[in-house]
């Protein structure tokens, strides 16, 4: 009988995939003028710009489009933006991402792309881009196994950084801090700043959620704190977190850490905590969004979350760029936590293309030359930080930001450099 249910599930999944294929979004025109005598270079973007992830994807795409439009041209080449959507039936889809990257590679004017937003899409795209020496820079991918080799990568993600790069040279770069930093960052904040010594932890038992929960737990215990209750839920069938919350309360938990995402009900237990366990709630970046605030309902205050990138608003030098961006994209939902990181990625790519043109004697550079130039990026000053890539493609000093839910929105608390 159970098998029949699974079959039923598989059919639902199949139908969902068939239901909503989407085409490439058209790029915007306009922008700064300059010498464009030598031809055109296209900067591509790959983001989930429709469906449930659009609240993350569209703001990021806006940042990329803005960067390309405001630059306008580079050393005699006209710069054009072209955006791809990796959404299928409401959610980001690795297959669609793979198809997008094939399309990008087949257009010789495209010298690199900014994206994707989701680590599983990156996993599908990197090998295809790698064979074509095609540069990718992501603002939001946080899975550590995309760039770093750990003994659990093969088991948990089915692949390793080496396998993702069949031609041996790295073509994938990112400016977000890897997941290895997220759990510990919140654990430090809980122990040092919030002064908690007893914490309850739950996870959605998935790669990301369980990973951050485990790393939170290790760091918190190392600091001298105590994890009083720990549960891994199958969130597809769990509606009731109250027994776990009661357990946590009885054991004196001063806070609850959730390793999950909005897709795995991360902030549903927050609403159930009301009247049972009135203590702060802590989430990774999968919960720092509007859906979490909605799910937490009347218990949304007193939540803390980590984001794996810096907040551009904290950088006084970025003010002019932010103001110009807001003049071009004026709506509140046009800006998200990964807008300015994505804008920085686009500028890093454009800067690298500029150096590659110089290296090629002013002619259109090859994709190999662009990848090489990106990897040589040194102390690039962006709106969200100063970036240098290490040999894996990771930023040498990634930033972690902490936000707090206040009056129906996430407010910046602090940010700090991790790693290095």
């Amino acid at each position: 009988m159970q098998r029949r249910w699974y079959t039923a599930g598989a059919i639902i999944a199949g139908l969902s995939i068939v239901a909503g294929a989407c085409g490439a979004a058209p790029g915007g025109g306009g922008g700064a003028s300059g010498d464009t005598s030598k031809g055109e270079i296209i900067i591509a973007s790959n983001q989930p710009t429709s469906g449930g992830d659009a609240s993350d994807g569209l703001p990021a795409q806006n940042g990329i489009q803005f960067a390309v439009e405001s630059k306008g041209s580079i050393k005699g080449f006209k710069l054009t933006f072209k955006g791809w959507d990796d959404t299928v039936n409401g959610t980001h889809d690795p297959q669609k991402g793979a198809q997008n990257i094939q399309e990008m590679i087949s257009d010789t004017k495209i010298l690199g792309m900014i994206g994707p937003n989701n680590s599983n899409v990156a996993r599908a795209q990197i090998p295809i881009a790698n064979r074509a020496n095609f540069a990718m820079i992501s603002a939001a991918n946080t899975n550590e196994c995309l760039t770093q080799t750990f003994d659990y990568c093969e088991k948990e993600t089915g692949t390793t950084p080496a396998k993702l790069r069949p031609n041996g040279t790295n073509n994938y770069f990112r400016i977000a801090a890897a997941d290895t930093f997220q759990g510990p960052a919140m654990a430090d904040y809980a122990y040092d700043t919030l002064k908690f010594t007893k914490i309850a932890i739950w996870s959605d038992n998935e790669t990301f959620g369980k990973g951050v929960a485990d790393k939170f737990s290790q760091e918190f215990t190392k600091k001298g704190g105590q994890v009083v209750a720990r549960q891994d839920f199958d969130t597809k069938v769990t509606n009731d977190w109250k027994p776990f919350l009661t357990d946590a309360k009885n054991k004196g938990a001063q806070g609850v850490y959730a390793g999950a995402t909005s897709g795995t009900k991360i902030c549903i237990p927050r609403a159930q905590m009301k009247g049972i366990l009135d203590v702060p709630y802590m989430v990774p970046d999968g919960g720092v969004n509007a859906q979490c605030i909605k799910d937490a309902a009347d218990n949304a205050a007193n939540m803390y979350g980590t984001v794996a990138a810096a907040d551009a608003n904290q950088n006084p030098d970025a003010k002019a760029t932010i103001d110009a961006f807001k003049a071009r994209f004026s709506k509140k939902e046009d800006v998200g936590s990964y807008t300015f990181p994505a804008l920085d990625c686009a500028n890093i790519l454009i800067d690298a293309i500029g150096r590659a043109i110089d290296a090629n004697g002013g002619k259109l550079p090859t994709r190999e030359q662009v990848v090489k130039a990106v990897s040589e990026t040194k102390n690039f000053k962006g709106t969200t930080g100063t970036y240098t890539f290490d040999k894996n493609g990771d930023p040498t000093s990634p930033t972690m930001a902490i936000f707090q839910a206040k009056s129906g929105d996430w407010a910046f608390v602090k940010q700090f450099s991790v790693g290095g």
Binding site: Q2, D234, K236, D240, P243, T246, A271, D295
Partner: protein, 362 residues
């Protein structure tokens, strides 16, 4: 295990109970089987011992608290399980769409609430009682009407077709309902207004919320009404007769189409009420909720003895309590393993479920 119980009856309509009894007797009397039964028994005793130590360690207040959550959660599963069991009892169809009808109950009541002026500003006041009753009744009626339509369109034309045909149309209806709810409200968790009073009282060391009591009381009332209806009313008697022998019932001048439609209506009324209670209790609904809720509710129906109304109620309660105890005392990751292990154990020793099957006799 449930597969072995149900599938032969679906495909051949054979004497399931008899053949299973034989299989079990053969299993239990064989020397290896006897050894395994002994091991199983020891395992069960060990698990019960561990549970009792844990319960003793954590104290009575905690036990009572977890039990309350389990009973409230189980009451909702029970309401859904009743629909499965009634339909299976009368036409031996596993109505896969039933779980989605439960979700639809949540969606419809969420949609209706603003029309009767039920919003969170009135939460817990007397002004919320009448709107809630209206929403309850309207949701139950709409769900009932939808299920009767589904039966008319997708199941009745197939009543004399091979057993797998209506099973497939039932799966199809399940996808259609889920797809429609997806199109209607999208893939997100929807916030369901928190309308019940937040008040609570302490009982020993446990805090019992009015919400918990509300869920349990409404579910119990509905189950009592259902039992009385099936046991005492003419239509209820017609249902029991149809379940026993359709042809003879028809010969006695009873309109079996109407009787079966009524069964679907009542099942959906309970699912609609269950969906509304779920929304009010957990304050969230999502389009694919029916998949997991349906899975557990169907399990509950088999657990208690399919076709048996009291059995479904008991099965639902037990599953709710097992989930709560597993989450509260053990590892949540093991919850489903525990539920199905218990189900298999129960079915091995009582193939007809805890209170016995009541299905059409051939």
């Amino acid at each position: 295990m449930e597969g072995a119980t149900i599938a032969p009856s679906l495909l051949e309509g054979g004497n399931v109970v008899g053949s299973l009894k034989q299989a079990r007797t053969a299993f239990v009397t064989a020397p290896v089987g006897r050894l395994m039964s002994l091991l199983l028994l020891l395992l069960v005793i060990y698990v019960i011992f561990v549970l009792l130590t844990k319960i003793f360690d954590r104290g009575g207040g905690y036990f009572l608290q977890i039990l309350t959550f389990g009973v409230a959660n189980g009451a909702i599963y029970a309401l859904v399980a009743l629909g499965y069991t009634m339909v299976y009892g009368i036409i031996e169809l596993i109505n896969f769409a039933h779980g989605d009808l439960f979700t639809l109950g949540g969606f419809i009541s969420l949609f209706l609430l603003p029309f009767v002026g039920a919003d969170e500003s009135k939460a817990g006041t007397a002004a919320i009682i009448l709107p809630l009753i209206i929403v309850f009744l309207a949701t139950m009626a709409i769900c009932g009407a939808i299920n009767v339509t589904i039966e008319r369109v997708a199941y009745r034309p197939l009543r004399h077709a091979p057993r797998v045909a209506p099973l497939i149309t039932a799966i199809g209806m399940s996808f259609i309902l889920e797809g429609l709810m997806f199109l209607w409200k999208g893939p997100f968790n929807l916030h369901y207004p928190n309308l019940l009073p937040a008040a609570s009282f302490t009982l020993g060391e446990a805090t019992i919320h009015v919400k918990d009591i509300f869920v349990i009381v409404i579910a119990v009332i509905l189950m009592i009404v259902l039992t009385l209806f099936v046991g005492r009313s003419t239509l209820g008697r017609a249902m029991r007769a149809t379940a026993q022998d359709q042809d003879a019932t028809e010969l006695m001048g009873i309109d079996i189409n109407r009787t079966i439609a009524a069964t679907f209506f009542i099942g959906a009324v309970l699912a609609g009420a269950g969906g509304t209670i779920f929304g009010l209790y957990y304050n969230t609904v999502v389009f694919d909720l029916g998949f997991s809720a349906g899975l557990f509710a169907f399990t509950a129906a088999v657990f208690g003895g399919i076709g048996n109304i009291q059995g479904a109620a008991l099965g639902g309660l037990l599953i709710g309590i097992i989930i709560a105890f597993s989450d509260g005392y053990f590892e949540s990751a093991w919850t489903q393993v525990v539920i199905f292990a218990i189900l298999i154990l129960v079915l091995v020793f009582r193939p007809t479920g805890l209170l016995g099957m009541r299905v059409p006799e051939k």
